[in-house]
């Protein structure tokens, strides 16, 4: 796997469904060479050792059960995508993984989420520690109104990092394939960057604290296809070291980047209240080529959602 070439990847036609993501020939895809007419999926290896084990997870906002009875296992160093129509609870589930739902006073979680056999919602678990190990990238790029350098250095600083920050910043930005673009303007405001660069900076900021897992909540929905392609390249690159869970509205994106895909939908009960449900969770290729559930098939074939 090459380290995210910036210019060639921008030639990718990400807007089309047909996207070459065959692991064996990334250069073909990058140069727009051979293009099979069919979607070719990422090799879906067997489920690696589990990072998250979710069982009977329900999330409530006040009395409203926003997500009901989710069961899934997320494997290490894989990209797991969560897709589904709006309001199906996929972001809600994602935010359980690093306890960001704690910030909503009315939110309540039932069921189990184990992170390496430890209950994430256990009595002794400190959400601050959880978030240092399980980072998050948000839908809208949200760099701090500070310099690029300070954006990267913030996480390590608040985490009590003792070491050479300059080296860490360079290493992190190189890792996120952003170093060449920003190395001459580290002290300028991060807000001066383009949207795509800001989002990659946010990813870099997340990996600066050396987490194990990166959660991404529709990271490309505010970006154009070229910037999206760069982020997808970056994700593939990062998946060698990090476990990535991504929520996306873009089914092609899920098909392109993920190893496994979870399809969520919302059941509407007789009172008109929506409850998010996990319908199907499997290797991405199977979900997209041979789904078991009619609702999945309807969704991915564009019949609803």
């Amino acid at each position: 796997m090459t380290a995210v070439p910036e210019t060639p990847s921008s030639l990718k036609t990400t807007a089309t469904a047909v996207q070459e993501t065959d692991m064996t020939s990334p250069s073909d895809a990058a140069t727009g060479g051979t293009k099979t007419p069919q979607v070719s999926f990422r090799e879906a290896p067997a489920l690696t050792s589990p990072v998250f084990e979710v069982g009977g997870l329900s999330v409530f906002y006040g009395d409203h059960e926003a997500v009901r009875d989710v069961n899934m296992t997320i494997g290490e160093r894989q990209i797991t995508a969560m897709i589904g129509p709006s309001g199906c609870g996929k972001s809600t589930v994602l935010r359980c993984f690093n306890r960001m739902n704690d910030l909503i006073p009315t939110a309540r979680v039932a069921g189990k989420i184990h992170y390496h056999d430890e209950d994430l919602y256990g009595r002794d678990v400190d959400p601050i520690e959880v978030r240092r190990r399980i980072g998050m990238v948000f839908q809208k790029p949200n760099p701090f109104p500070k310099s690029i350098y300070d954006n990267i250095a913030y996480g390590p600083r608040v985490g009590g990092f003792r070491g050479n920050l300059d080296d860490l910043v360079e290493e992190t930005l190189t890792h996120a394939a952003l170093w060449d673009e920003v190395k001459d303007k580290l002290k300028t405001s991060a807000l001066a960057l383009s949207g795509g660069q800001q989002q990659r900076l946010c990813i870099a900021r997340t990996i600066a604290v050396k987490p194990e897992v990166i959660l991404m909540d529709e990271p490309c929905s505010a970006l154009d296809p070229i910037a999206t392609a760069k982020i997808e390249d970056l994700m593939e690159h990062l998946a060698q070291e990090f476990t990535i869970v991504i929520v996306t509205h873009n089914m092609q994106q899920a098909a392109r980047v993920s190893h496994r895909t979870a399809f969520f939908t919302a059941d509407v009960d007789d009172k008109g209240v929506r409850h998010g449900r996990l319908v199907e969770y499997d290797e991405t290729e199977l979900i997209f080529s041979n789904p078991c559930d009619q609702r999945t098939e309807d969704y991915i074939s564009g019949r609803f959602g």
Binding site: R131, N142, Y154, V158, G159, V209
Partner: protein, 302 residues
């Protein structure tokens, strides 16, 4: 219900003049002139007031104003030095007392308080009401509680504490607005990196809110500087022949000095009062200019 049937393509003849309308709409311009008149009214009064005060002040607008102390027998030698120093002392300590308290109260209300709880809502409503309480009431409170009950006397300390109470609601309200204007996404980004809530507030929220907090605080202090009523209650004496030397000093402030000179019968004192008014206006103008400058200099884009 029958929808009007659209004609076939209108002829060029029929099209002619379709967009014509009155060149002059009386209602429109009447309203426009009315608005302008309202604005002019305010400006005319302000300008004439300024002109009047300036003309009155002209004979006495010189260095005697800030080098000399008040004198009841010789108005030509009288100055307002003790009042100027008194104002600086009082307002500095007011800032010292009310800004940290007000900002911290605002942080609590915005970042920690659960808005669902009745007591937090009660506090919120009360703060808004307190901002509307007449300043003389604070003067009575200061006199009764601070000066007499706590035996602090009529000193710089009492005046600063009372004025702090007076502007505290304004500081809290404007700081809350500044803190609320910091996007949630900034807080979330910080927390998602494993920062604690306090780290998030101290390193992200407050720095981002500083321009708004500073602007609101300066405007609140400008209000405190112009207040005469509460300090009259608190015995700001008029003929103070010395500058304050500490929190326990007796003092006077500019508005009180002006009030006193105005009520003298001799013409020279009226000129002196006008000159002191100009001085007070200049101080206020400088403070407001600083507020505007701060706002423009540090205004953030997200």
């Amino acid at each position: 219900m029958t929808a009007p049937v659209k004609d076939a393509v209108p002829t060029a003849e029929a099209r002619r003049g379709m967009l014509a309308g009155p060149r002059f709409r009386p209602g429109e311009s009447l309203f426009r002139w009315l608005l302008l008149a309202c604005l002019a009214l305010g400006i005319v009064f302000l300008v004439s007031l300024l002109a009047y005060v300036l003309v009155e002040a002209w004979p006495r607008l010189d260095s005697r104003l800030w080098t000399n102390f008040p004198s009841i027998r010789r108005p030509e030698n009288a100055g307002a030095q003790s009042a100027i120093y008194g104002t600086i002392w009082v307002i500095s300590f007011t800032a010292l007392f009310c800004l940290p308290t007000g900002i911290m109260a605002a942080v609590y209300l915005e970042e920690y308080a659960d808005q669902e709880r009745w007591y937090n809502r009660l506090i919120e409503v009360n703060i808004q009401n307190l901002a509307a309480v007449p300043s003389i009431i604070y003067g009575i409170l200061g006199l009764g509680l601070l000066a007499r009950q706590l035996a602090l006397g009529t000193t710089v300390l009492t005046a600063s504490l009372t004025l702090s109470l007076l502007v505290l609601p304004v500081v809290i309200i404007s700081s809350r607005e500044a803190i609320r204007a910091v996007p949630r996404s900034i807080r979330q980004a910080s927390l998602a990196l494993g920062a604690t809530q306090w780290q998030t507030i101290w390193r992200q929220v407050l720095p981002a809110a500083v321009p708004g907090i500073a602007t609101g605080s300066i405007l609140a202090l400008s209000r405190a500087i112009g207040e005469a009523a509460p300090v009259i209650m608190l015995g700001a004496v008029t003929f103070v022949m010395f500058n304050p030397e500490g929190l326990q000093s007796e003092y006077t402030v500019l508005p009180v000095q002006i009030y006193n000179w105005i009520s003298q019968s001799r013409e020279e004192f009226h000129h002196l009062a006008a000159a002191a008014i100009i001085l007070l206006l200049a101080i206020l103008l400088v403070m407001n200019a600083a507020a505007i400058w701060l706002r423009n200099r540090y205004s953030r884009r997200w």
